[in-house]
Structure formats: structure tokens, C-alpha cells
């Protein structure tokens, strides 16, 4: 692994998929209760390197929370959203999580995703679901780098992919 870009697998990151009407007051209340944050706008991630809320689609959010608190938060959402049309599911163990940081971090992702990672186009607080080489993935940028999530079933593939991309980015970086 180079000093210019670090790829690390993050274990035990709590994640909750929350689907429903993002405009509804109860949905906003649920997010506030669990994360203390407001409703993200399209393509936005609110939070920091360990917790937050991401906009997944017009009817879906991803809540990033401490692993130990997931069950408690899901039941809090269930009681807030009672009788509404919604879904709150613990997806912590369904996903693999990676952190990509360092001066070449943008290049690592740009090598494997069809996304404009120029600092003028993608900055802190932005979230993107996309294709990472052959699989689906999503990433967001926070104040200390990028977090990447993919399905656990392709976690080893993505780990190898990002590690190789980090090595290849050395000396051939575009964004630094």
C-alpha cells in the first residue's frame, strides 16, 4: 500500500436502509432521532467519518450509525413510523465498507468508477451510487476522505480492486 492512498476495510459499521416518503414529517423526525441530522438533499451525505445520513434515491436513505446501536435505532424508527408506509432494515452485515484516504484518494476512485472526481465536481458532503469496475457500489466524501460501500458478497473483489488502484495511482495521479 502506498503512502499516497490508503485503502482500509472498515469492520462493524452500522447501517440502516430507510425507505418511504422523504417529504413526510415523520420521516424527518426519524432521521433526527437516530442521527441528530436533517434530511439530505439529492446526492448529499450529512455527517462525518463514522456516522451520518445519505440520500440513496427519491424514496431511500442510508443511515450510518454505531454498529451496537442498530437494533435500538430500528425499533425507534418503527415506533415513530407506526402505521406509515415505510421500510427500516438493518443492512450492516449485508454491506462491506472501505475507507479510502490520502492525497491520491480521488484517483483511486476515478480509476474504477465512471464519475467525475474533479475537486470542482465532487466535494465533501457529496454521495454517489455508481458502478465500481464490475459491481455496484456507493461512496461519499467526508472531512478525512472517502467511505465506500458495496455488497458483502463482492467485498473481497472490491478490496483487491481498490488496493490495486491505489498502487497504480502512485506516480500517475491526475487530481493531485
Amino acid at each position: 500500500m502506498s503512502e499516497m492512498a490508503q485503502v482500509m476495510r472498515v469492520n462493524a459499521r452500522g447501517m440502516i436502509t430507510l425507505r418511504g416518503d422523504l417529504m413526510s414529517t415523520l420521516m424527518k423526525k426519524s432521521i433526527k432521532t437516530v442521527t441528530g441530522l436533517g434530511m439530505p438533499t439529492s446526492g448529499q451525505f450529512l455527517g462525518n467519518g463514522t456516522s451520518g445520513v445519505a440520500w440513496m434515491s427519491p424514496d431511500e436513505l442510508l443511515l450510518v450509525v454505531p454498529y451496537a446501536d442498530v437494533a435500538k435505532f430500528v425499533s425507534q424508527i418503527d415506533s415513530t413510523m407506526k402505521d406509515q408506509h415505510y421500510l427500516a432494515a438493518d443492512v450492516s452485515d449485508a454491506r462491506a465498507v472501505f475507507s479510502v484516504s490520502g492525497t491520491n484518494a480521488r484517483d483511486v476512485l476515478a480509476r474504477v468508477c465512471p464519475v467525475d472526481l474533479h475537486p470542482g465536481s465532487f466535494c465533501i458532503g457529496q454521495f454517489r451510487r455508481t458502478r465500481m469496475a464490475q459491481v455496484a457500489a456507493a461512496f461519499w466524501m467526508h472531512d478525512t476522505g472517502f467511505d465506500v460501500v458495496c455488497f458483502q458478497s463482492v467485498g473481497d473483489y472490491v478490496q483487491d480492486l481498490l488496493t490495486q488502484a491505489a498502487e497504480n495511482a502512485v506516480g500517475a495521479a491526475f487530481y493531485t
Partner: protein, 113 residues
């Protein structure tokens, strides 16, 4: 490379992030319809050389289906629009006709010259 702006998440997605869904605005003929209409619904598709209206899915992104107007010959994209509609928006039709005067929806035609 074909690039569409997804009307649901605002992302400029290239075709590797998308899944093609074929001709847009088909009318379904199901149980009770005659054989000819059912066959037409299942198998008969327009394949114009020129501006086509198609369904696409942002499969690696937000996962939503949307509509797109693009030229099958030049790959020029005229616009994308919501899936919750039975016909292309008027403004989009006018935009296509301004560039390809011979084009009309369902009749198609008006290939780039």
C-alpha cells in the same frame, strides 16, 4: 459514450451505469385482447434510424426507470424525462422537431443528414 442525466437523482450517468429497456410508451394488451394486439405488444418494436424514445434504468445508481430521447444514428441526446407519463413532454418534442423537422412521435423518421 452515451451519457444521460437521470431525472430522479440528477446524476450524469454513462451507459455503463444504465440498463436499456427498449421502446417507450407501449400500450399493454393483456388477457382478453385479440391475438394480433397481444403479439404486437409482446414482439413488435419500432427501430428507427433517427430520434427514438426509449426506457432506461439507472441500475447502478438510484435504481429508477426513466425515459430518454436520443438519436440512434448519432447518439445525440435530446433529453430525459420522468417515467410517470404516457407521452413525451411537449417541450422535448418541440426541441426534437426544431433540429429534425421531419420527425414525429410514433412515425419517427427525420434521421440526421
Amino acid at each position: 459514450m452515451l451519457i444521460f442525466e437521470c431525472p430522479y437523482c440528477g446524476v450524469y450517468a454513462d451507459e455503463t451505469e444504465l440498463q436499456a429497456g427498449g421502446e417507450a410508451h407501449l400500450k399493454r394488451f393483456g388477457p382478453g385482447s385479440d391475438d394480433e394486439s397481444f403479439e404486437g405488444y409482446l414482439f413488435m418494436r419500432k427501430n428507427p434510424k433517427g430520434v427514438h424514445l426509449e426506457r432506461w434504468r439507472h441500475s447502478f445508481g438510484c435504481g429508477k426507470w426513466f425515459h430518454a430521447a436520443r438519436c440512434t444514428m448519432t447518439l445525440e441526446v435530446f433529453g430525459t424525462y420522468s417515467a410517470q407519463t404516457l407521452e413525451p413532454p411537449k417541450a422535448l418534442v418541440e426541441k426534437i422537431k426544431a433540429k429534425r423537422p421531419k420527425w414525429s412521435w410514433r412515425e419517427f423518421g427525420g434521421a440526421a443528414t
